[in-house]
Symmetry: C3
Subunit: 362 residues, 3 copies
């Protein structure tokens, strides 16, 4: 079974990465070349010339068209060949695949599957990344593991205690109860830690933003959207000021600081991924120093994850038939995996009528 | 089907590479060790000791014999073992394969196939490399691609426009008509560009050699000799002085400058090759500065090809079942491929009588 | 057939390598993590967490237990899980494999096979490494070859002449006769070279220890213990003073210098090994300078072997079906191989009753 659905929007690049230059990138095992048209909109083509397979990304951009760097065949943004050397007539089959591509919420999204199904309404909601009232920044890293291991990692923040003990982890996270729920396309894990001493990261944030040093109510609300986007609503409020929701009461976070960790993890190959993340906050909006500090701080945390994830992938490759046992803490990632599997299964070819091999009578 | 015939002469080294030292080199997937005998003539043995397979090239030369670097077995230039440690009697089977080897036109040629067919008359004609009236020099590079991709590259110089635009390429090459012909062992592609402004490389040559700056008639006459040698007769003459041949008239190149690009590409493995080349000219014979400049200039051009060829090989490996379409410009390389395929097919074992599997009656 | 038996003691580390820190090491294709308990005794666990396979060596030591670096599962030295995050009840299946491990003669020995068979009496005798009357030191190197190639190398010291000509090798070794004997678990090769000029290494030793410069009787008594330990009793004595044994006379080495080269070669994978060696001597016991010089001198000799052994492994991999011929000098290694093969065969699963495939009558 495939590891990922093809009929989905995947982040291919940060907005600032894409310029009037050919950018090669592999998405879901497909080599693609990305560039901006003269009007600034993004384009994506298969990164292999129709003629001799040379990556088009080794060629050059000419207006809105790409010129192959070997024999000079020219392709437009729809992938159609518009020029061949030394001949007048163009072979009508001469084209490369073009992919639906949309820029939204600071990412360039590409749809590797059936273009007729590529509805922009299906792009994951990461509006915190470019909305008024929120500020932040992020990065992309390449991780040498199946993207689902990153999803597992994000769906269970227990690991913060053991992997990120010096910044955001403490025993409260590993010990606090949590609630896991799910729908058709979403799965959530909610954890409240009330009246705790905040870990170093959050102690610093609430002291800086609100001049407060003392116990807090801390929350982590993880929301997975299939196949590979995870937003985490995180924060702390002055303990006992009503931040936790209760029944119909949504809770009052006005005495707190709130951030969203935005994660979308694009399969590069079966065993590697492009991990895009950002941290957006709703406090101290104009302090660029905090943006810088948060970005680099979170980047350090994700480097700790990277070492663990790549070691885990190597161990899985060495134990191809290993049966995994699940713990209570795995409830969120189990639901995420189920939702991914459903998307993948929906794309599998329908089984044909069963063929019964016949043997002629002796 | 194999990629190359074994019954052929392949360049294994430049003359200056071979000394009284053991030189390991892989030719057509066969590991060989080359050296010069005391009389200066070349020798080639299988590079694996009969006893424990240690490469003989890790041993040392003793007179005309090779001493293995592990247990001291000694082999003569015919591959026969002449000494074993701690025993008087030599095992009669103790030998390594020796290969026919000939030095000609500044290359050491080896025949990897059936030694009884190794006729020196079949060595490709590269006499420009060491003949009076011609001067020049060359290099060897290792390219991580099937040697046939280099042949394709040389049989269609349209790519000069796109890969070598800063030196020898311009739109005239991509747009000029050409004529492709072939025989049993040869294929040629002839292109004349008459009355053109010369590209930077040739403008410099004719200005220096003849003090001429103006339009030229330019020629490229590519001649492939199966399986892997390509000579290219190149040059420019003052426009309109009769350089192009016509009917029985061979043309008058006396108002021009003429060079031969000599190329012979030896398969190292199925996906790598040793590419030997030289550039010989018939003008300014005593100007060593020009020899140096041409050698380094052509080396820079071939480095541009190397990047394209290795990317193309990687793309082919990623698309193992790709069906390639051919353009008009591919006529020469298509003939070259056909001549190679014929040589390979001629070496394939003859199919035996067809075996009909029988099933005993029930 | 496997390359090595599992029911055997293998050296996993030098004593000084093992501290109160997690040490990952692969033994016989099994990833293990080694550490010392609080009482100083060694422990060895499977290096993969029961939960998500993360190497336990990426976690940390807590008392006598190991804490996984991902989700904090805790395992004791017997491999049983003693703590899981966020849950009270431990899954009874939660454990990793623990391996029998013993410290003796300056090595940490591990038994990768059936723990119930792990009898410490079977640990190879390397007492010279920590006995009164002997002094010395050693190293571990990783060699990218099947451990049996190292055994072959040690069982035939003819190669000293060709690989180590500048130190311990000379033509006397290659030319001297030798005697090979064997038992059920041992094989020996004995070579005496009487009245010879000593090679540089031994000339230096006997001059320093006894102020003697002149002809010597030299011995090499190689003793293989299956599957992978080789001790070599080496030395020289003043020629003609009765060192060689004869009939019931064990010989008189009192006018000589004697060393033991201790070698035990642990398979890491099918094509790599950990090669532990030491050189112990019974003269100039208090001269630390000699210990240092011998250790570095022998290390240089083994680096020469390493280059040969790794080249041999590459050649074997390139000739998977090669049939090897044996020379007289291979008598010792042939016996060693037979003893190894017997141990491996004894572990192969017994063949079940032969299944005859039935075909229903037509």
């Amino acid at each position: 079974m495939a590891h990922f659905p093809l009929n989905a929007w995947y982040a291919a690049a940060y907005d600032v990465e894409l310029k009037r230059v050919l950018l090669p990138r592999t998405i879901c095992n497909r080599k693609m070349v990305f560039y901006r048209l003269q009007d600034g909109s993004p384009a994506a083509l298969e990164d292999a010339c129709w003629h001799r397979l040379l990556p088009l990304s080794m060629g050059r951009l000419d207006g809105d068209e790409v010129v192959c760097g070997y024999h000079g065949l020219v392709f437009n943004a729809e992938g159609r060949c518009t020029h061949m050397p030394s001949q007048e007539t163009l072979n009508p089959s001469a084209c490369v695949r073009s992919y639906p591509v949309v820029e939204r919420h600071r990412f360039i999204w590409v749809w590797p599957g059936d273009a007729s199904l590529a509805d922009p309404a299906l792009i994951p909601d990461l509006h915190w990344n470019d909305s008024p009232g929120w500020t932040g920044d992020g990065k992309m890293i390449r991780v040498a593991c199946d993207y689902r291991l990153v999803v597992d990692n994000l769906m269970d923040l227990t690991h913060e205690t053991f992997v990120h003990g010096s910044s955001i982890g403490d025993r409260a996270v590993a010990e606090a109860p949590f609630v896991a729920t799910h729908g058709d396309r979403f799965a959530t894990v909610t954890r409240w830690m009330e009246g705790i001493t905040p870990p170093p990261f959050w102690a610093g944030q609430i002291r800086h933003a609100r001049g407060y040093a003392g116990p807090v109510d801390r929350w982590q609300i993880i929301r997975f959207e299939a196949p590979c986007t995870v937003t985490i609503d995180v924060g702390v409020a002055v303990a006992g000021t009503g931040a936790p929701p209760s029944g119909d009461n949504p809770g009052d976070r006005s005495q707190g600081v709130n951030g969203f960790v935005l994660n979308t993890i694009t399969p590069e190959t079966d065993r590697s991924c492009h991990y895009f993340w950002a941290f957006a906050r709703n406090y101290c909006l104009n302090e660029q120093r905090i943006t810088h500090e948060l970005r680099e701080g979170v980047a350090g945390i994700f480097r700790e994850d990277e070492a663990v994830l790549e070691a885990q992938q190597r161990a899985i490759d060495e134990h191809p038939d290993h049966q995994f046992y699940n713990l209570n803490i795995d409830a969120g990632s189990m639901w995420a995996r189920k939702l991914i599997d459903r998307l993948v299964a929906a794309e599998a070819p329908a089984p044909g009528p069963r063929t019964i091999p016949l043997r002629p009578a002796a």
